[in-house]
């Protein structure tokens, strides 16, 4: 069956450090992968989309890598700030192309 796995344990880091979150998947052949941010009680907010032919993508302090051989994506936040504290979700599109399938997310806490 298709699975999307993210670190279930919360990630606690100090302000200014780089946070690295991992997303592993099985039984998908994705054309692209997405990362979303979710704050408590709120809807997911789109951050980045990376396509299968892109090894790396950046947006301001965010960087995503995508390794289709390892079936893994890494999500980096550099110079982290307390405002970056949230749950970060990895998402892949279903084979039909309509549904987004989400991982359980990794909770990030950035302390001053």
């Amino acid at each position: 069956s298709q699975k999307i796995e993210q670190n279930s344990e919360a990630l606690n880091i100090q302000e200014g450090k780089t946070a690295t979150l991992t997303c592993n998947y099985t039984n998908y052949s994705p054309a692209y992968l997405q990362w979303y941010r979710q704050d408590p009680g709120r809807g997911p907010v789109f951050l980045l989309l990376i396509r299968e032919n892109e090894k790396e993508k950046r947006k301001e302090r965010l960087k995503v890598t995508f390794d289709t051989t390892l079936k893994q994506s890494l999500f980096h936040i550099t110079a982290s700030q307390p405002a970056d504290s949230a749950t970060y979700l990895c998402a892949l599109t279903s084979n039909s192309g309509y549904a987004l399938n989400f991982g359980k997310g990794t909770s990030l806490l950035v302390t001053p």
């Binding site: 009680g41 809807g43 979700l89 599109t93 309509y98 549904a99 987004l100 359980k104």
Partner: protein, 113 residues
């Protein structure tokens, strides 16, 4: 910046009652979706809607659920006879093209007593 809106933000209902959750997708988007998130669990896909018909639905989306686009701006999710296990956050999303980024609304928290 355009955004997806949802009403109500909170809904409390008695088991067996019908509820309608409303969404206004981003105006030029053509694909519409409903997801739910039970407390402490992951976001789960319910249904997608395009060209006035369901394009995909999950196992969760059984006969108790229906969707409708009653006019040019609203997109609704109806649960005919609510069950305790329907208690969750329900998110509406929209996208402007197939297989592209989906933009989510703030959600409706549904509590079934």
């Amino acid at each position: 910046e355009p955004e997806v809106t949802q009403t109500p933000s909170h809904q409390v209902t008695q088991m067996g009652q019908e509820v309608i959750l409303r969404c206004v997708p981003i105006s030029n988007h053509l694909y519409f979706y409903w997801y739910r998130q039970i407390l402490g669990q992951k976001v789960e896909f319910l249904v997608s809607f395009y060209n006035n018909e369901i394009s995909e639905k999950s196992e969760i989306f059984d006969d108790q659920f229906s969707v409708e686009r009653p006019d040019g701006s609203n997109f609704t999710l109806k649960i005919r006879s609510t069950k305790l296990e329907d208690s969750a956050m329900y998110f509406c999303a929209s996208s402007d093209s197939f297989k592209e980024t989906q933009y989510f609304g703030p959600g409706t928290r549904l509590l079934v007593l």
